[in-house]
Symmetry: D2
């Protein structure tokens, strides 16, 4: 079952800079061969359900291994049976609608 | 790895009443023997990582089987290594703090 | 415009125990006269859009005032025009469906 | 109080294609002069608290005006007092960490 996920991993108890921990998660996604898109509040991930959720679990295990005592992940995950749709399709379908509307009056 | 999760399952393309689909998910949690707490915007779930996420996957498979063409689940999942904490502990720790503060001035 | 919200306030940089900060938020909801329901991963809040979001803003201001350097709030907010529905209605509509299904086979 | 937000607007009861409604929201952000970044599961928005949340409210009002009977928005909103950080800073801080790590072994 193919999914598109949006994942925000929040490590607690290790200060205010989270980027080292987010970078560690991206290594996990890359090693798993998952397609990702980093944005300012998380990462879009595309792939099969089991592979994507295995990567999320590995993020928690890895970050705990790095000494993070408490982790909260915020996840949005979508599945659909009506059609195949990848990350780029979702973005371009909105951009096409905006282009049809023309410049903002 | 023990988790506390908050899960909101949103079925699209099947009208405005989602309660039949949420009830179907609760049957899955019950069959899996998971501890749950239904609230107005989702369900808290407590259990082992693999069992809890297997139940979420089964919700998507079951709802698609009920004819739902598109599903988005919004998940918050927490793990911690500093101490054991169940759902009731989390609620009572806030209620105790409120009790200490006494009536609102 | 009436809303039902689910709010999780996450303070960073102040250790692992968040309950004092959640209790401070609940004082704000109570002072604003908002209807709330505390659960294991956040708080359901019911009220008018402006009053509920003013309370969220006050949570951020208050917690920064308590010395929290970084805060992330995770919010689900729902509005509908097809019918009036309060927090209890949402919960009972699922519980009624579960009752109709009878004991799990 | 400056915020960085991640917003996902989900319209219910109007079929499976949400892009026309997301495009309508982007017109609102543009008219408000807000800085945005569209991704596959929502939109990052940067600006002052009141302006950003006023735009979210206008999204709900506009979509209801377009005939959407039920809307759920999923929001992550962050504020910090320790330093100024914009959307690009958050992304580049992770990308720099990844660059330091070098290619994945």
């Amino acid at each position: 079952m193919k999914v598109i996920m949006d994942l925000t991993v929040s490590p607690f108890g290790v200060g205010l800079s989270v980027s080292p921990y987010i970078a560690a998660c991206h290594e996990i996604f890359e090693q798993a061969g998952l397609k990702t898109n980093l944005h300012a509040y998380g990462t879009n991930i595309e792939g099969e359900w089991d592979e994507v959720f295995a990567a999320v679990k590995k993020c928690h295990e890895t970050l705990h291994g790095m000494g993070v005592p408490r982790i909260t992940s915020s996840i949005k995950v979508g599945t659909r049976t009506d059609k195949e749709q990848g990350m780029e399709d979702k973005i371009s379908s909105v951009k096409n609608k905006l282009a049809e509307k023309g410049p903002i009056r």
